[in-house]
Symmetry: C2
Subunit: 385 residues, 2 copies
């Protein structure tokens, strides 16, 4: 069959690999150099010098905030933290032992029913909703984390920064300064990553001008997948399964023999070390040293060494998901919450990129190359064989 007959084009990039879908000034990934910037700032600098709030402001508004701007933004993030009571009741209706990302998707979708200011498109109203959504994501993750243990949600603590409050709402314990700093760094590193699958899905939904809740719900729906945000949990479960560093070789021999993909390695864009993995590895080293999880870090080192030796030549290196789980697990966070933690950060990137795209919106409506029958003749039910 002549494929070109229908659309005058026979070749296309599967999964839109390397296909440009928009312009952006938000963030840039150089996959060959292993380089990631938000608004021109290298992530290493942001991790060293900025907080999650500052970096979120930078990502959404395009510049580092001045003192008064940061204060206003932080105060908004804090004041928007509460969820409507019916949304808490909806969370409680969901199964305690269910997938936390499925719960988060439902909670966020439900939030949209309590804020119809966004049912008509208005850029400044949608910007305000976006800030609110960042604040609410932390609270929703906290409420779901508590529900998983059969506990009532905690009231957000407005004296705590976004990351510390998030950790408090999950565990009921206020983190010390070092834990706040390390987790804040991890949160900064997950804010944005160019046209990743969940960001793209959320932009695709936003482009029908549905509303910000619809768009963020789609981002959560995508992030749940094991080929995307779900990978950080899978990595940790793999490390737990291996159990001790001595068993890593046997585990990998088997995986290599069965040509199985090792979670936490490889990336569509990076063909070298993911710069986020480089930073997270240092934190994983530090945190695992004092939290009884040294064995997991040692297994990870072993796995990294073997996989890079085997596949590094093909551009397969650890990605952001490989070391983050060790940090979270060392701090006592339930692996089922790793992807929700990712969401509590990435929501900033979703919001920023949706708002940027909507400044000059065009509905995402591509084509498919039709390769089926063109003229089938109808057979009545009784004559079908």
């Amino acid at each position: 069959m002549d494929k070109e007959r229908f659309l005058g084009q026979a070749s296309f990039a599967k999964g839109l690999e390397d296909v440009i879908v928009c312009e952006s000034k938000i963030g840039y990934v150089d996959g060959a150099k292993g380089w990631l910037v938000y608004r021109g700032y290298e992530i290493a600098d942001l991790v060293k010098c900025s907080t999650f709030e500052e970096t979120a402001y930078l990502t959404i508004f395009g510049k580092l905030p001045r003192g008064a701007e940061l204060e206003e933004f932080t105060s908004k993030l804090s004041s928007y933290r509460s969820l409507p009571e019916p949304v808490h009741r909806i969370i409680r209706e969901l199964p305690q032992d269910g997938n936390a990302m499925a719960s988060l998707r439902t909670a966020f979708s439900a939030l949209g029913s309590y804020d119809n200011t966004g049912d008509r498109f208005d850029h400044s109203a949608w910007t305000e909703i976006g800030i609110k959504q960042v604040a609410q994501m932390g609270t929703a993750v906290g409420a779901i984390a508590r529900h998983r243990k059969g506990l009532s949600p905690l009231v957000p603590d407005s004296s705590l920064c976004y990351t510390a409050n998030l950790l408090y709402m999950i565990s009921g314990r206020k983190p010390d300064d070092r834990m706040t700093k390390v987790m804040d760094a991890a949160m900064i590193l997950h804010i944005d990553h160019e046209m990743n699958a969940s960001t793209f899905a959320s932009m695709a939904v936003a482009s029908s001008l549905a509303d910000m809740y619809s768009a963020i719900t789609a981002g959560l729906a995508s992030l749940k997948g094991p080929l995307h945000g779900g990978a950080n949990e899978t990595v940790l479960r793999m490390l737990l399964e291996i159990g001790v560093a001595d068993r890593a070789d046997a585990y990998l021999d088997d995986m290599f023999a069965r040509k199985k993909k090792i979670s936490g390695f490889g990336h569509r864009v990076y063909k070298t070390y993911d710069p986020r993995a480089v930073i997270l590895k240092k934190f994983a080293d530090e945190v695992s040293a004092t939290n009884g999880t040294r064995h997991l870090y040692e297994i990870a080192q072993k796995v990294e060494e073997r996989v890079v030796k085997q596949y590094g030549g093909k551009g397969i290196f650890p990605n952001v998901d490989f070391f983050s789980g060790i940090i979270y697990y060392s701090y006592g966070i339930d692996p089922g919450l790793f992807t929700p933690l990712f969401a509590a950060s990435r929501v900033v990137g979703w919001v920023a990129r949706i708002l940027e795209y909507l400044k000059d919106n065009r509905l995402f409506r591509p084509r498919a190359l039709y390769t089926g029958d063109l003229v089938a003749s109808y057979t009545p039910l009784s004559e079908r064989v």
Copy 2:
């Protein structure tokens, strides 16, 4: 700034216009000829000879079902109709006067928490879930319709076909044969439309292997938008606002003068009459003649004539959303439920295209063209001006 510096490509198609994202054998739109086929069958033939169930089977499985196949499929669609009780409770938590598509999005997302068989990808399990989702969509729309009136949901009637049961669950009245036939035709016409925005969004989400509920939730999220499924409701509200045919000219003069888009006209792919509009117009003519809604049909005719005269030369003609609302409204259906009705049909296309794409999945992960700063130097908070 040299745009080509980063990605070696400076031009791209906004909104992915005419960009091919996959191959498909499911359906084909010829926008120049005004031609739509599902699996090679012209929609006019399917409307004339097939039911919604037969067409859904055809769309998902690629061939018209034999008697036993249709019986099994219909029986599954019927047996899967009920929703878990907590999902009914969640629907009741949502505001009665809220956006029905927002409610449907939440209800569907919640359904995912009660069926974790799809948390791991398995093509045949996901196919079964897809059939279940088609069945459940009708019930969810029905439950939401009843909740909007403060009523309890009805128990699905297994003696009724998909369309008749859907109408029964919405209104509490069993439709007569002619109403069933007309509405079934409308449902058939909405099943699939190639790489439309909601189908693409649902495929994008499915490609991370999240799960079928995540993917369908994203489809609903996208369909809600006024640039997509939301348009059928907007058209009807415009006709009601115009009120009588004599006022159509003044209304349009004003819209043309303000260069406002008229809902229900124009399509990314069709540059001539949308073949679905041609069929729906005939039904709208028939149904409005006996239901006290003739004035709406007359207004629509007037609007069509003026808009086509003004913009037909630019390829602007009535699309699927222009006449469907008159039919639904004539049958007493609340305009707030028009887009959910669309969803109760389009879910078939979402399921079919997701399942087809997942046979050879590749994560949708495109690129953005970075046009921002490349090397910003960090200024501490106290020094920012």
